[in-house]
């Protein structure tokens, strides 16, 4: 098997960890988890979220991607795009 065979089921553990850390969110994190459920996910904490994702995965997102993140699944999609 090869790296290409590693397919992601749902959101990866690091993203769950980030939600716990940045938003102090204790609920279940799925690809659909969004600001509707996560009360602390406001425009200010959005910056913290972006910084933490960039730092954790060693990537640098674009402005569009920053605007695009509206759920945990969006984060997965961005990460896959960066080959992470």
């Amino acid at each position: 098997m090869s790296v290409a065979a590693l397919v992601i089921n749902d959101v990866r553990p690091e993203i769950v960890e980030i939600f716990r850390d940045v938003f102090q969110f204790d609920g279940r994190v799925t690809s659909r988890t969004s600001p509707d459920e996560v009360t602390r996910w406001d425009s200010l904490q959005h910056i913290a979220l972006v910084r933490t994702i960039e730092h954790t995965f060693g990537i640098s997102m674009s402005m569009d991607e920053m605007a695009e993140l509206r759920s945990a699944g969006d984060i997965e999609r961005v990460l896959v795009r960066y080959g992470v």
């Binding site: 098997m1 090869s2 790296v3 065979a5 590693l6 553990p13 910056i47 674009s62 402005m63």
Partner: protein, 745 residues
């Protein structure tokens, strides 16, 4: 089935370890199973630095690590530093023999990993304490050490370490986030108002750990977005200080439709508005104002002529910084946080994130904000604690290369040629500090004639006279330093000790914990620049007095030598031929008078810390008077060492403050000064003179000052003793061994 490693060469094992394998049921590709398949090849992989450097060793079992080390030993492969670091960060124990060549911080981590329960030996705790004071650690090591301390349930040490490393290792704060809140809340608080030309939220977050590391719990009130000018013009009366974050973008949004001249006029308007507001704040408020300078331009707006053309960003940045510096020269409450120095170690790409600028007017990225916050905290710390006053210097292999006792003068390295030029450069830095008011003392284990090296060796920049005191003998250095501190009348916390020997540094830290003992780099080439960056020596402002301080101490030392050789104390004092020049406080003497009020602890009757703004109110008016005194004797000039402020009401004059530098204590100068003030106040119509003494932990020396000069007790007021004396009808002051003259300015 182990995955085929060849296909995994390019990928990081850490990422793979965390991903799930699809198509194999729920079976996880556990990192420890991957490691299992690597262990057989370990010596080869270590030699090639392949695969293993990326492994997260927290995932390995103790047994696996033991097998790894055995297989390396079997193949006679040394355990390289990267592997030692990885294993220690992963929480593993290593045999002491492996650690021999490692840095102090790695050895500490190894010792922590080797502990079973929560009891941390004192010696180890001391070493961790040293880490919190001296230098930045690698982020991974710092984080691992903090996490290990938490696991050993020593949270207060963990908090202390995490805070000290927060600028370069913010991750280290994570394991102690909860504990930090109560640790920080226990510190003395400081109310800081924060305003910026861009969003200040990120700075606010960075300031909390930065100030906590400097011993302060900072409570921050942010002004509304972009409210710098109104915050400056209408200072928040409830705040202890105002901090201002500036950014280039604010001054540069030029209107390119007009001419270049027109565009520049708009920029100048903004510069004027800001600098005028800063001046207004400084006039109106005595509270400190901390302002960042603008960092150097990264993307020029006028290409090759960016420094030359009116619309060049570099030129505009330089112009604002120059104007800020000009204001700061005359205003001691204005402190500039040099953005270029703060950001120097941060890559330009890390200093700002363009998308955050457009998203929320965030001008600086996190690493830059942490560095700037550190700059703010450092300036504040310098304001509160002052700088180190004395540099205690070792001789052999510190001031020169070689050992005097073994090599003799001729073979010592110091001069204009390699490698002695590195030692001479360090000596020149010492002279620079001396010119900026730091005292130099020599502390050498040698026969006393080692001092001759300075005069006999042609390459030495330092001379015998540059040292205010030396202890050249075979006694322990901590004992010698204590003795010198006593002679100079300074506390141990005023000393910085530079020595190339780790043993001497260790001894000093243990025996005199108050002394600052930084890690002198082992490479002499690195030392001159290192000494420049040693922040505890940085002046916050300089007066003429600072540049002459060393001479004055040398004069005092000569005076003491005379005292030791002359018969009676009276003979000695008379032999000094002391002269006291008294003059009314003036604009020119304000800064030094304020400095005396701020610094003097012992000979200070009321310990009221009057600043320049407070003192200014004593410059004129019927009801107020202030005086300063300069002292000299046959050995030299002691400079402006006395200051006093008085208020006059009806026929009563009250001495509100009276301070004298302790370097002239015990020579009846204070009495002569008081006589002179009394005479001046009597001429203004005062018939009764009232003196105040407010006791503190440090000023017991002046408790009997007034009664010893014929004042009578007159009750007390707000914790201060009142003493009084009639100025008319009392006997003329007795003759003192001081010639008093009056100056006008």
């Amino acid at each position: 089935m182990a995955p085929n490693l060849r296909h995994l060469q390019a990928a990081s094992l850490r990422q793979i370890g965390n991903a799930r394998l699809a198509g194999h049921g729920e079976r996880e590709c556990a990192p420890s199973r991957i490691l299992e398949s690597l262990l057989d090849e370990a010596p080869e992989l270590v030699r090639r630095r392949s695969l293993l450097p990326a492994f997260d060793w927290r995932q390995a079992s103790a047994d696996q690590v033991a097998r790894l080390l055995r297989s390396l030993a079997g193949a006679r492969v040394n355990v390289p530093l990267w592997l030692i670091k990885g294993l220690l960060v992963g929480g593993h124990r290593l045999p002491t023999a492996t650690m021999e060549t490692c840095s102090q911080e790695l050895r500490i981590l190894a010792a922590l990993n080797a502990l079973d329960d929560g009891q941390i030996p004192d010696a180890l705790a001391d070493q961790i304490g040293d880490c919190t004071r001296y230098g930045d650690m690698e982020p991974a090591v710092a984080s691992a050490m903090v996490a290990r301390l938490v696991a050993l349930s020593n949270t207060s040490l963990a908090c202390c370490l995490a805070l000290s490393q927060a600028r370069t290792s913010p991750e280290a704060l994570r394991p102690v986030r909860k504990e930090l809140q109560s640790e920080i809340a226990g510190l003395p608080s400081l109310r800081l108002r924060l305003a910026g030309t861009s969003t200040t939220h990120g700075l606010k977050e960075a300031l909390v750990p930065a100030f906590a590391a400097a011993g302060r719990c900072v409570e921050i009130a942010e002004g509304p977005f972009g409210s710098v000018i109104s915050e400056l013009l209408e200072p928040d009366e409830t705040a202890d200080a105002l901090a201002v974050l500036l950014d280039r973008e604010h001054f540069l949004s030029l209107d390119w439709r007009g001419s270049a001249r027109e565009a520049r006029r708009l920029v100048d308007e903004r510069l004027d508005t800001l600098t005028d507001a800063i001046k207004a704040y400084c006039r109106k408020s005595p509270r400190p104002l901390l302002v960042t300078t603008l960092p150097a331009s990264i993307s020029p707006t006028s290409g090759h002529i960016d420094r030359v053309h009116a619309t060049g960003e570099s030129g505009i940045v330089a112009e604002l910084n120059r104007r800020l510096a000009e204001i700061a020269v005359g205003v001691p409450s204005l402190h500039l946080i040099d953005a270029d120095h703060a950001l120097a170690s941060i890559a330009p790409s890390e200093r700002s994130d363009p998308k955050l600028w457009f998203y929320g007017r965030i001008a600086y990225a996190e690493p830059a904000l942490r560095a700037l916050a550190h700059g703010f905290a450092r300036v504040w710390q310098a304001r509160e604690r002052g700088r180190a006053k004395v540099l205690a210097l070792d001789f052999d292999n510190t001031l020169w290369g070689g050992v005097y006792g073994d090599d003799g003068i001729g073979r010592l390295e110091c001069g204009d040629d390699f490698p002695g030029n590195a030692f001479k450069a360090l000596q020149q830095e010492c002279l620079r500090l001396k010119a900026q008011g730091t005292l130099l003392v020599g502390l050498s284990k040698n026969n006393p004639d080692a001092i001759d090296v300075l005069s006999k060796h042609p390459g030495m920049a330092l001379k015998d006279d540059d040292f205010v005191a030396t202890a050249i003998n075979w006694e322990p250095k901590p004992d010698n330093l204590r003795r010198l501190a006593g002679e100079l009348g300074l506390g141990l916390e005023s000393f910085v000790f530079l020595d190339d020997s780790p043993h001497e540094r260790e001894a000093m830290r243990r025996m005199c914990p108050a002394v600052i003992v930084p890690e002198l780099p082992s490479d002499p080439a690195r030392r001159p620049q290192w000494l420049r960056s040693l922040a505890c020596t940085w002046p916050l402002r300089l007066t003429d007095e600072d540049s002459r301080r060393s001479e004055m101490y040398v004069a005092e030392r000569r005076g003491r030598e005379l005292q030791e050789s002359s018969g009676s104390y009276e003979d000695y004092i008379t032999g000094l031929e002391q002269r006291l020049l008294v003059e009314p406080l003036s604009v020119g003497t304000l800064p030094r008078a304020a400095q005396l009020h701020e610094r003097t602890n012992q000979f200070n009757l009321t310990t009221r810390r009057l600043g320049e703004a407070d003192l200014r109110t004593y410059l004129s008016g019927e009801s107020r008077a202030a005086f300063v005194g300069r002292v000299s004797d046959r050995f030299g000039d002691h400079g402006l060492v006395l200051a006093a402020c008085a208020t006059v009401q009806g026929d009563t004059a009250r001495i509100e403050t009276l301070v004298m530098s302790c370097r002239v204590i015990g020579r009846e100068i204070e009495a002569a000064f008081l006589d002179a003030i009394a005479e001046a106040l009597a001429k203004r119509g005062a018939k009764r003179l009232v003196g105040l003494y407010r006791p503190t932990a440090k000023n017991a020396i002046v408790r009997d000052f007034y009664p010893s000069l014929g004042f009578a007790a007159a009750g007390d007021e707000d914790g201060a003793d009142l003493w009084e004396k009639l100025l008319v009808g009392s006997a003329a002051p007795r003759l003192r061994p001081v010639t008093v003259e009056w100056g006008t300015q």
